[in-house]
Symmetry: D2
Subunit: 293 residues, 4 copies
């Protein structure tokens, strides 16, 4: 039985390494990206470059998208410009479509409805990073959708990620992704507040870090971000503007369903302040700059 053809739209910081893993696992791969040159290493490794999202989608048994925000996803799927949009209409019946962007659960459900109407299986399937030890740096997939569609996608998912969590119907993946990023953003902001307090009181931030790493407060993300804040080198690993966007999506969801999120709301304004006063693209650990302006 031949391997299904995988099409992949969005070759950013996350997308490109995921594609290399898909190729390594032996799947035929078609790719598309707004800036075509980002596909070079993949084409060299055997991928085919599509001329448009439509062409990529038309070729797919399994389509994967991972773009920067909800408007970018809507443009790729339904946009009227044939060079950058319209992928959804050219998906074939029976295909599986899996979106790994971070978008609102409402958009995930809108795609799910449109997919159901066309006989396409849809999974919302955003990702997060694994923690210590064996899984460090590995991707975890948070899946919303039907079990049958997950089974269709599982071989490809397994090529890209270490763990696959089936969390519920469509929307569950994006909801838990937003909750996870809320948690990561608040852990980092909490450490920034703790560090601002200690250094503002005249003591060494390194000492706080040392105690934190031996304590119950230690977390995977703080192992990585605490040294970044102490050094002040904010080369983006996960850009602050994307974390700020995800906090905004989490707050939008909370406000739609009437669930107050007071600490998230406070932290989002702190991230916003740093976003507003920074010219470069910074890692989200740069939230600490709020106290260093």
């Amino acid at each position: 039985m031949p391997q299904p053809t995988v099409s992949f739209i969005g070759l950013g910081l996350m997308g490109r390494p995921m594609c290399h893993n898909v190729l390594k696992a032996g799947f035929p791969l078609v790719v598309w990206n707004r800036t075509a040159s980002r596909a070079d290493s993949l084409v060299a490794a055997g991928a085919r470059l599509a001329a448009s999202p439509k062409e990529a989608a038309a070729a797919a048994d399994i389509l994967i998208t991972i773009v920067s925000d909800p408007p970018a996803l809507e443009e790729v799927l339904w946009g009227s410009d044939p060079k950058s949009g319209g992928a959804f209409a050219s998906l074939k019946k029976g295909a599986t479509y899996m979106d790994s962007s971070s978008v609102s659960p409402a958009l995930a459900r809108k795609i799910a409805q449109a997919s159901a109407a066309r006989g396409i299986g849809f999974l919302d399937a955003p990702v997060t990073g694994g923690t210590w030890g064996a899984e460090k740096g590995e991707l975890l997939f948070m899946i919303g959708g039907e079990a049958a569609d997950l089974e269709a996608a599982r071989p490809v998912l397994s090529a890209m990620g270490k763990k696959i969590f089936h969390l519920g119907p469509n929307g569950a993946g994006q909801t838990i992704k937003l909750a996870m990023n809320l948690l990561l953003a608040l852990e980092v902001d909490a450490f920034a507040e703790a560090l601002a307090l200690v250094t503002g009181a005249g003591f060494a931030g390194e000492k706080l870090t040392e105690v934190m790493q031996a304590s119950m407060a230690r977390s995977g993300v703080l192992d990585v971000k605490a040294p970044v804040m102490l050094k002040g080198d904010y080369t983006p690993s996960f850009p602050l503007r994307l974390m700020h966007k995800d906090l905004s999506l989490a707050l939008d969801l909370g406000n739609q369903i009437g669930v107050p999120l007071p600490a998230t709301a406070a932290a989002r304004e702190t991230y916003s302040s740093v976003k507003g006063s920074s010219k470069e693209d910074l890692d989200y650990a740069a939230v600490f700059k709020f106290w260093k302006k």
Copy 2:
């Protein structure tokens, strides 16, 4: 060379097990507690029960206090009631005094000044819990004070805790302790917000926990508190009223030195709300009740 006599004031959740470790290490031990019956197991193990804080302090080569809040500490040290106060005046010159309560850095420095004037060595030495693996459940000491005083206390400290961090001059221990509890309280509150969002949106909180535990957001304290929130069994391990007090001390410090702490301020009000609407003494993981009223 004989072992120094250790006197210990405050036999609460933390104090009593610390005392048992002091005894196990072979130090002569004198204890005092407002409710004397809490000393029974220690007396049975060889400790001497003092009739007053003054008597305990007078016997000490090394005095240790661990009481619930700043007013309680001031009462024990300087209170005029001979049955419950006045310990400080009866300390002998050359003694070492170590306070492991959580109090303001300002109070730690006030004690340090008074100690210096009397030829007593003083350490602010609050504690926090260790993290995974070998150190799980072990105490970590966060020390402010002079190196010579730390060396005098080290044998006793080593009997009680796994790690001893010398963080700077007097006040450093309490400052970093407040920063650590700010961090722990915000990690727990952040998870509570994430859980409220996920369950409010109609998905299973267990799924969030499962993903969290495989992710970069995993932390020592969340390993313990996430299951507590899912079950809703808030038997106090560390009482919410004490965590609320420590958040208040952290905010007081930030406000004295003009360091804004927006997320901490938001979280403190959430803890306050739960404190105000709860009759029983709950663990601080009960902050999740804010969304379950």
Copy 3:
């Protein structure tokens, strides 16, 4: 010279009385509303009921829209359903279009661009209520756009409102409207917090109100809302769900431009909490229910 024909889309709490004033001033008036029966009193007074937004817009020398939120406005202007959308395309060249809904400044600018391309003059023209004395209850218009377009609309504006503020180019009206609603929402939330503190401490809320009304803190909106909170009768004058929406638009704007709004963010979550736990449609003074759950 004949009076210009005015078309009006949206006959809600604000729209209907505005229309009656337009009629009284002698303008020919065409109206449309999703629920047609809300036009009855206007038809009785001489207005013509259009069958669709398109028909209303086609008849207009001056078109006015006032609908509940940005999606509703986009639907009326550009929606593809001929019964409820598509008004914009049927506007004639040289017409003046004025939107009095509360929407994002970005949407106001998008309409302005589309209007300029078609030779239509556009004003963003949201409203707020006047204060004490002579102006009490009168409408104030906050205008963004070009002076010439304002002059074309001024006779109709003067029929509907007491004061007309020309605030800058397109977007200025909506920006200042969002800032005004932020201010009103925070004044009301501030009084709710003050009232919760006083009554929580066991004193009479009436006493706080009495002092407030003689003090520098007295404001037009609190004169109206303080008695409402004391009585707990939250029949909507301005619905909480709309104030919550406007706070969300203000926060979205702040977050786009990187201006942190910490108190607004905190208050928005409080409004969200009440929105989430209320079944009926309540006035925004019901924010006080946050403390009465």
Copy 4:
């Protein structure tokens, strides 16, 4: 019948003009202030300068204190230094004591208890400013205590203030004063957020002020502070450090009784940030500097 002797401790921005009004009303007046030279104009107008708080209190039929914060009040009343403390012990039985400082309700009740034990009538009697029109700039007294004590003090109160509100038993005056300052501080902070949003979006702050002053959001305090923020001239009328202190007292009270105050908590951190980054003593309208750093 001779006029009662009034003694007055604390000749600051509020105290000195109050004293001049007491003299004008014909009461014998004894004054004390830490910096004695601040009494010069009062001595010239007929007041007697006491050498110590004790001497001032001993001479009083009615004692009034108005000092900067709770520790300053405790020092004046109970401090052991005979030059600056110990006033309380020298009050005579049957005297009336009235404190117009802003302190915690708990401290007001502590003074009330001590007074009752000694046969002294005590009123907590903080002040706030009156609003528009006839009362503009006049003082309002917020009184907690017994009616009989209020009647004893009324002639002196009437000499100093326009309105006297009897709000309940001891503690009521201070509780409602804290609620009033919470309200004033939040109104000013709300306008600062609105102004930051409007100017950050590129529009003129003067336009916002103009609309505000015609709208329901207009308040007595904003009439005064909005122009101050536009000009950026923060000569203290009411210093930010004192408003910050009163917000802290309001939050302390809320946290003691478990009443969450989310917007107040957010605003307090904003005031704290400006306090921390300012060298001079600024008016509390300078909270707007948070966005101008």
